[in-house]
């Protein structure tokens, strides 16, 4: 459908088993962190981000936000795009179930509005968009497992139609202490 060199994946990031890999290399590791919360906050501090809203997010949004931060290390050019030129397409297996469960338990005492707003998986996309001022197309898919063929095809479609010039896409899944993130940044070639 398109010439093979029209776009390229300019960064990728994997976060699993308390390790963070960026473009294949180990960026951060914290085997002492027993809980996802501690691991996420450790990574947040390591990345030296100043974004206090981070602490208010649910674990899924935190993981998604951190993965995009890792993705954009050494890609200052991400800021050069117009807001509507960057899309975000994410997927996972458990939707927002991790927060759904905590919201349900909060209902026993008093329903928490701050938890309820995170009972949708695309709030994670919203948080990423707010942080980086991305306003391009975004979509959230729920799959049993990461379907790289599907999601790559979908994102290439967005690039083909010139709807976006760059797109963050991949998989961010959290359920209790199990988590997995695999994100990619694909960009149109600047040449």
């Amino acid at each position: 459908m398109q010439q093979p060199n029209k776009y390229q994946i300019t960064a990728h990031c994997t976060i699993r088993q308390n390790k963070v890999f960026r473009n294949g290399g180990l960026l951060y590791e914290d085997q002492k962190a027993l809980a996802l919360k501690d691991f996420s906050e450790g990574l947040y501090n390591h990345l030296q981000i100043q974004y206090p809203k981070f602490y208010k997010m649910d674990p899924l949004s935190k993981l998604g936000l951190l993965a995009t931060e890792v993705l954009f290390i050494d890609i200052p050019s991400i800021k050069l795009y117009q807001p509507e030129e960057v899309g975000v397409v994410l997927s996972n297996a458990h939707s927002s179930l991790d927060t759904d469960i905590r919201y349900m338990s909060s209902v026993q005492e008093m329903a928490s509005p701050a938890l309820f707003v995170y009972t949708l998986p695309n709030i994670m996309i919203g948080e990423i968009c707010i942080r980086h001022k991305f306003k391009g197309e975004n979509s959230f898919f729920v799959f049993k497992e990461f379907d790289a063929t599907f999601i790559t095809g979908y994102v290439k479609g967005l690039l083909d139609e010139d709807l976006v010039k760059a797109c963050v896409y991949g998989w961010v899944d959290v359920l209790n202490q199990d988590y997995d993130a695999e994100l990619y940044l694909i960009e149109q070639n600047h040449q």
Binding site: P52, Y55, K56, E109, M110, S112, P113, A114
Partner: protein, 85 residues
């Protein structure tokens, strides 16, 4: 009143996950929302939950929020005025 305001600052930080703030960072008369501490509409709803859980005071309408939650002092005043007998 001072004790109440000190307690409120701790409770606000805990309820809203404001990990970057210490109680002494919040001024008694500093606006809590946009231009001050930077709280948003969801935070306002969480403050309503806080009033209900910690002080057994029910804010009937979200529209009263901006007035009641303007500063820590206005919150403390509201609590004092509405303390259940």
């Amino acid at each position: 009143m001072d004790q109440l305001m000190a307690n409120l600052k701790r409770q606000i930080i805990a309820q809203l996950n404001l990990k970057d703030l210490k109680p002494e960072d919040i001024g008694d008369d500093q606006p809590l929302f946009v231009e001050g501490i930077g709280l948003d509409s969801i935070d306002a709803l969480e403050l309503i939950v806080l009033l209900q859980q910690e002080y057994k005071i029910k804010l009937a309408s979200a529209e009263d929020g901006p007035k009641v939650f303007y500063t820590v002092r206005t919150m403390a005043q509201y609590i004092t005025d509405h303390q259940p007998a």
